[in-house]
Symmetry: C2
Subunit: 223 residues, 2 copies
């Protein structure tokens, strides 16, 4: 179906176990990155790991991360060191006949590489547009533009999706045959979904109805 | 309200910016850890960060992580190195009058320390019970017990919640006064929720109705 080049695992992104869950379809990586809302950015600080939740957006094979120029983790991440960006979507709790075979259905992408700060004005504007379209589609057109002072105070990093691995579990419990035959416990999947609630307008908003890009996002629900 | 000791930030868990979002109420940390379903475990491997989604459970001030003894990341994490466990719950998309003031409402805990492998049989059994109660409450009583072979093949780590920080954003947009006065764009919060869908039984389950611990979890929804 897909004509995209497959993910090409390197030695460090080759999954060490349960290879059946590794997915090399690049379109499945894109789908996860487009479905999920936040990522977890890992860096090494003073020799120890530091993992922080971060907003992002994807355009082709580039992941854009952003934050205040005052955020030390982002400054660190953009300083030419190795980073790890992990995006996880939990899709279900897997109830098995045995405690041991309980599991979770999920999709998780691990992206390794060096994140590069974007300084070119057009490229940075494009990146902010991509990130806004991901977190709040429609807002780029609806809300006030970024002014020069705000533009200078935000830092944007670009991470290439070249070194990425994707792991997906999307099936029922892998129970032992004896437990299936015994038929003594219920087994199945309890789906987990991320959904949007009803929009909550600010009290100071006067005479502006909830715009379609917010209201309809609420109606269709999350991924 | 709470008589719990406050979180005691160390130099590396003291938040560098937007201190208003730092929360030192230990009961708020517990609430997040109990609400969220998965964590992201960060380790340093060959000098580079590696972040993987992991199941967990909490008992008092101990976080338990588990995985197969074959999982290299867990072996690494239990080998006396520094780890970072981050738990994030996204609670809403914050739409502002300006692109720049768009934000997210979220709760995020960052826990630093060394994770210790649990080998004592009673302690490990207790940890597995705690993890099961977190991921699939009721299953410990309903499903088949862990047998000796399975017990040996699972690895459990304990991480003390001593060095933890908590960051919470739970309010409307922080718009500039000029943008509020201009009243030219809608602003507010679109809540994000994690909910459970309808249970999907395995085809081979014969004559066992969906048990209450699964069906009722589905009804009340997630956190």
């Amino acid at each position: 179906m897909s004509s995209l080049p497959p993910l090409s695992p390197t030695e460090r992104t080759t999954l060490g176990r349960r290879k059946i869950r590794a997915v090399t379809d690049r379109s499945a990586l894109y789908a996860l990155l487009d479905d999920a809302l936040i990522c977890h950015l890992g860096v090494v600080r003073d020799g120890a790991p530091l993992v922080l939740p971060t907003g992002y957006g994807r355009d082709g094979d580039t992941l854009y991360l952003h934050g205040s120029t005052g955020a030390s983790s982002l400054r660190l991440a953009g300083g030419g060191i190795e980073v790890c960006v992990t995006v996880t979507q939990l899709d279900g709790i897997v109830y098995a006949r045995s405690i041991n075979n309980h599991s979770m259905n999920y999709r998780s992408a691990v992206i390794l590489g060096q994140a590069k700060p974007i300084v070119d004005i057009d490229a940075k504007t494009h990146a902010l547009h991509v990130i806004t379209d991901h977190l709040a589609p429609g807002s780029w057109e609806h809300a006030r533009d970024v002014n020069a002072k705000e533009f200078a105070a935000v830092s944007v990093l670009a991470l290439d999706l070249a070194e990425a691995s994707l792991k997906i579990r999307a099936t029922g419990p892998g129970d032992d045959q004896e437990d299936i035959d015994a038929n003594e416990a219920w087994a199945g999947v309890l789906p987990v979904r991320t959904v949007f609630g009803d929009p909550e307008p600010c009290a100071e908003v006067v005479g502006i109805p909830v715009p379609a890009h917010v209201a309809e996002r609420g109606k269709v629900g999350g991924s």
